[in-house]
């Protein structure tokens, strides 16, 4: 597959087009229908979760958070290609992927509600926490893959970053290391056209991000990131390639965030309504729904039912989060090191005493 879709020749993998038609049946992944329905449900769940989070934020019940709307196929499709024991190293805009991997909306609310508890995922999730410093996490994914090789395990790693992130030095260093040491690491770029306000064309001069793989002699492929099938298929191929000991792969998924960069951002300042419209038509949920409906796997009633189910699930998780008022003082100190040094103990007591004095 990787040699077929040479980014230098302008090739891009699309399996299902914007109208939900299969345009490259030869690449159609062999997914049972129920899995596809599940995938759609997860995408829908992620979308509802995202919209909910944004609205809670507007109400002042969560803090600044990134939006995910529009990128659900890339997130969910790539994560579905992993086994349970594989690792995931996220950036911050892959909600759907985290949900597949085992994180919950509760975690999401805690994190963007201002508590580190949100990064303590269920045991054994093999999901790293949100990484805010752009692209720094790619190096971690390389090391995880290295350790996997070292231990003779077959686990692979997927790591996410954005088009903007491809400019960072860590991108280069990570891909180079991964190639040199044949680390089973999949570098998944969510190219959503913007780094906050900066359009992709001003981020780098190369026509694709996928072609940057050539610098490391690793496969690089550009795919339609709003096409669940293309995302799933390409990631599966990459996972297999990596698991078979061939080393890393770079995937560039072309997508678009239909929302703002974060809840503090106003995209109308830097992109046109027409452009947004255009991309609304490419919505990854819409096209998959069309496909499912044509196959008789989905309908309005199911959409409504599942939306309600998801909404109430998400709301109850939010309610759980809202019980959490403030970080316990001890928690601020006790995870700095395995054992608390005297200096931190003294400081912790200082805070406690102060709070007590204030009658807090």
């Amino acid at each position: 597959m990787f040699s077929t879709f040479d980014p230098l020749q302008g090739k891009r993998l699309t399996i299902m087009n914007e109208s939900g038609e299969i345009v490259a049946p030869e690449w159609m992944p062999k997914l049972p229908d129920d899995k596809i329905v599940d995938a759609y449900k997860t995408m829908l769940y992620a979308r509802i979760g995202d919209l909910k989070a944004v609205s809670y934020q507007r109400q002042g019940r969560l803090y600044t958070l990134p939006t995910n709307i529009g990128q659900e196929a890339a997130a969910v499709g790539s994560a579905l290609a992993l086994e349970k024991t594989d690792w995931m190293v996220p950036a911050y805009r892959e909600l759907g992927a985290w949900l597949v991997k085992g994180a919950t909306m509760r975690d999401y609310f805690f994190y963007f509600g201002g508590s580190e508890e949100g990064s303590r995922y269920p045991d054994g999730t093999r999901l790293l926490p949100v990484s805010v410093p752009i692209t720094s996490q790619l190096t971690h994914a390389v090391g995880i893959g290295f350790a996997s090789n070292y231990k003779g395990e077959k686990d692979v790693v997927i790591t996410y970053f954005g088009d903007g992130g491809s400019s960072q030095g860590d991108f280069h260093e990570a891909l180079n290391w991964a190639a040199v040491f044949s680390c089973p690491t999949i570098f998944f770029c969510n190219n959503n056209g913007y780094a906050i306000s900066l359009p992709r064309e001003k981020q780098t001069k190369s026509k694709t991000i996928a072609q940057k793989a050539i610098a490391y002699d690793m496969p690089g492929i550009q795919i339609d990131g709003n096409d669940l099938f293309a995302v799933y298929r390409a990631t599966s191929e990459a996972v297999k390639y990596a698991r078979d000991g061939n080393g890393p792969v770079l995937i560039e998924a072309i997508t678009y965030r239909l929302g703002a960069h974060t809840t503090s951002d106003d995209p109308s300042r830097y992109r046109s309504a027409e452009e947004e419209k255009e991309w609304e038509a490419k919505d990854p949920l819409l096209r998959l729904r069309v496909w499912l409906e044509k196959k008789g796997l989905w309908d309005d009633a199911k959409e409504k039912d599942y939306s309600e189910e998801a909404t109430s699930d998400i709301e109850s998780q939010f309610a759980e989060f809202e019980q959490y008022k403030a970080t316990p003082i001890e928690d601020i100190f006790k995870y700095t090191f395995e054992e608390m040094p005297d200096s931190l103990k003294e400081q912790m007591i200082e805070v406690r005493n102060h709070v007590n004095r204030m009658g807090g």
């Binding site: 803090y63 201002g114 403030a326 970080t327």
Partner: protein, 325 residues
Amino acid sequence: MAVMNLVQAINSALDLKLADDKNIVLFGEDAGFEGGVFRVTDGLQEKYGEKRVFDTPLAESVLIGAGIGMAVNGLRPICEIQFSGFMYPAFNQIISHVSRMRTRTRGMFSVPMVIRAPYGGGIRALEHHSESTEAIYGHIPGLKVVIPSTPYDAKGLLISAIEDNDPVLFLEPKKIYRAIKQDVPEEIYRIKIGKASVLQQGEQLTIVAYGAMSRVVQQAIQHAKKDGYSIELIDLRTIYPFDKQTIVESIRKTGRLLVVHEAARTFGVAAELMAIANEEAFLHLEAPPARVTGYDTVIPLPKGEDFYFPDAARVYEAIKKTIKF
């Protein structure tokens, strides 16, 4: 005169200097077209064109490194780092080159660069968006570090920083970006880098603070005044080279020192000022120099940050403790 907040005052300084000197260029991530995520550079690209005010790729090391090259080749770069927590990828450029070029070349090349970044906490921000690591930069020989705490100071200090022929790290306390309004002259004026400002005169205790903490201390002092305490407040303004003379004179007068900063305590700015109190005013000390600071932990996410950042109550406690010693 016009009423300005910190954002407006900084914008005004940038605007005036861009107009004044065509060798000045201003750039950063989202600093051009968008006018910065805090809108500090709003309108400047429109006014001065994309050539002089522009966006960069997302890469802080080359952002600063290219700035060095521009400076060497005759420009005066003003580099914006979106948040001070994202300056670290450029740390090597700052410590190895920005601050050393003049010494290394015996004055042949210098780096008249300003690195601006919003810094500090208290705005309920995401991880890495509340950093306060000024002590780290202050420890780098060849680098000046400035932190304003009022619109008036911000404008005057930034103009001086831009005109300085050496690199200046200009950290903007984002918590008070819009919190304080002040009458600020519309034209160019300068505040000398390296001079502290005595915000209040007093007899019993010298407090040194900077950035968003200046306000917190002022609140505490108001409280303390009611209780009859007389306190001198020095706004440090320049972290390096700091105004030893003003501080020492004040300590010699009051006999007591309290330093307040939101950064982690150990190896922080307060320690240095306490050391200076010993070296220069030991025999005047009537109480141990003291500090109120953040803690030696990672800065907590919003649900924990109120425990972390010094507030007026904590400062007030320390005032009483030091005066009553």
